[in-house]
Amino acid sequence: MDIRFEEAEARFEKRLILHPLTLSLSERRIGVIGLNGSGKTTFVRMINGLVTPSSGRVSVNGFDTIKDADRVRAETGFIFQNPQNQIILPILKEDIALGLKSRKLSRELTDAAVEAVLSRFGIAHLADRRAHELSGGELQLAALASVLVSKPGILIMDEPTNQLDLRNRNLVQFTIDGLEESVIVISHDLDLVADFDRLLLFHQGRLAADGNASDVISRYREIAA
């Protein structure tokens, strides 16, 4: 993974949401923490081009998030805060197959890929279920399957344990720990990111701390106090 921000800033109308930022990310597991409204979501949305820099440049594995938007999105999967909105079609296997349409695979190959990704997350038995019938943890796993079926090398997750009970939260953590892909996780759940390779702390639209988990979490506790 090679993500680069070069003096990249984000504005909404005239308001500066993220101050100019220069950094590169290459670690396998990166956590993003900060208070509400600190710029975390804008930061990760800039990585996959959902938010484009108003000045400066963001690139993913050498691809510019503006000029090569399609390629960047193929490289980066994104799990939203509310997985209900992530699942576009109501039946799980149909939704996962939707992500493969651009590859024009045969029906057999599509079915095999869908089955493989569902099995990978232990939810093959949910293939014919309707998304609204799934529990919070199952829904997160379904969202993961729907994104990872197209094999992005980088996965971005926005508060994946938000509103989950302890059992489902542990299930999601266990799943994240086992992922082969590089992951960038926004979370208010500090235990989830405590053993990540690198943490970024955002505060008032600026990168306030960047480094190993224990140092950055300590700084976050100071800010939040």
Partner: protein, 201 residues
């Protein structure tokens, strides 16, 4: 998240989506060509029989069909006011038959299959360079997919009124519904972009 699709293995479920859509188009034309009341009555009974094949309870059927049925009744009453009773009965039977046929097909066809068929139908437009067929398929699929979602949103806003001891009024229902629907549409559009689903060839 709810769906209009009803799982099952009826004859309608097994028919190809393309054939079902073509039959629906043919039946629509026939319904508007025929003006004999007895014949329209027979067609309405046949449509009801087809819908009954889904095996839904009366309560479920009423919940699914109520909004459009009420609209049809309003249209028929308006026709009665401005035209003859025969004309009003004709409108009522035509639209009710059409509603039952369309509802039966929607209930027996997965949204994925709908998207595939609409995409196939739109391919000539893509060949003319007017638009991407897959975008049209996805748009139609999303409309079918989110109709029940909007109804659920209405119910939750109405219940929130009751919980606060307020009487639901059109304006106080419409404003939060529009805001919530637009916000949800934004998130879904972002998810579609993030998953690279738009502009697929």
């Amino acid at each position: 998240m709810r769906t209009l699709y009803v799982q099952g293995d009826s004859l309608l479920h097994r028919l190809s989506p393309r054939l079902k859509l073509l039959l629906l188009a043919g039946a629509s034309v026939a319904l508007f060509v025929v003006s004999s009341l007895p014949l329209l009555g027979i067609m309405a009974v046949c449509s009801a029989g087809l819908y009954a094949m889904l095996g839904l309870s009366l309560r479920d059927s009423w919940q699914r069909l109520r909004p459009i049925l009420l609209t049809i009744v309003i249209v028929a009453l308006f026709t009665l006011l401005v035209d003859t009773p025969v004309q009003a009965a004709t409108v009522l039977l035509r639209l009710t038959s059409l509603m039952l046929l369309a509802a039966a097909i929607t209930a027996t066809t997965g949204i994925g299959a709908f998207i595939d068929e609409i995409t196939w139908l739109a391919l000539p437009l893509e060949r003319l360079g007017l638009m991407k067929a897959s975008d049209i398929g996805l748009s139609v699929g999303l409309v079918i997919r989110f109709v029940p979602e909007v109804l659920l949103r209405y119910i939750s806003i109405r219940d929130a009124h009751y919980a606060r001891g307020l009487k639901p009024r059109p304006l106080t229902l419409a404003v939060p519904m529009i805001i919530l629907t637009l916000r949800s549409a934004d998130e879904i559009a972002a998810a579609i972009d993030a998953r690279g689903l738009r502009g697929q060839k």
